[in-house]
Amino acid sequence: GESVGLHLPTLSVQEGDNSIINCAYSNSASDYFIWYKQESGKGPQFIIDIRSNMDKRQGQRVTVLLNKTVKHLSLQIAATQPGDSAVYFCAERAGGEKLTFGTGTRLTIIP
């Protein structure tokens, strides 16, 4: 986790506020998308996924929005908590069983 790097895009959010993390994908043939959370020193952890036949999907405190017109994916985290501090990245599947990953956004929670 910590090797992801210091030059990631960073988002700082006040504790209790909502966070929105964005991801642009490149392949219009992608049919499946995943958001992962990676804490320092750990492996990526699945948060939520969405298929291309959907625009929105909700989980516990998280919502993923998919805009296929502009090839954009977003992750919304409600009522952000200190434990939400991590690197978040999206992944897309464009056929087969392989994923392509974005480089990630570092979310920092301000107490």
């Binding site: 090797s3 492996g43 069983e97 392989k98």
Partner: protein, 113 residues
């Protein structure tokens, strides 16, 4: 987490030595993957397996080989380690049915001096 473990978790080795990393899963997932994670590159696929003895190359396979003799184990070998292979290596697994999500192991930090 699909019961994925990786060993060793940390390794320091010298240029030119062979290194084998092991990934073990307990969920009988069909697909297994090896990735490396480096600053500015995110996760990049090295090799993957779609069944016992069935493997294929990913985007950064040069200098790496893999083997899968049992469903639960997927080995990544660096035949002759180079400093450019210093990285964090992650294994992932995917059942191939019911869900398309890949689940990741905790990672192995490899340093090649």
């Amino acid at each position: 987490d699909a019961g994925i473990t990786q060993s060793p978790r940390h390794k320091v080795t010298e240029t030119g030595t062979p290194v084998t990393l092991r990934c073990h899963q307990t969920e009988n997932h069909r697909y297994m993957y090896w990735y490396r994670q480096d600053p500015g590159h995110g996760l990049r696929l090295i090799h993957y397996s779609y069944g016992v003895k069935d493997t294929d190359k990913g985007e950064v396979s040069d200098g790496y080989s893999v083997s899968r003799s049992k469903t639960e184990d997927f080995l990544l070998t660096l035949e002759s380690a180079t400093s450019s292979q210093t990285s964090v290596y992650f294994c992932a697994a995917h059942p191939g049915t019911a869900t398309d999500t890949q689940y990741f192991g905790p990672g192995t930090r490899l340093t090649v001096l």
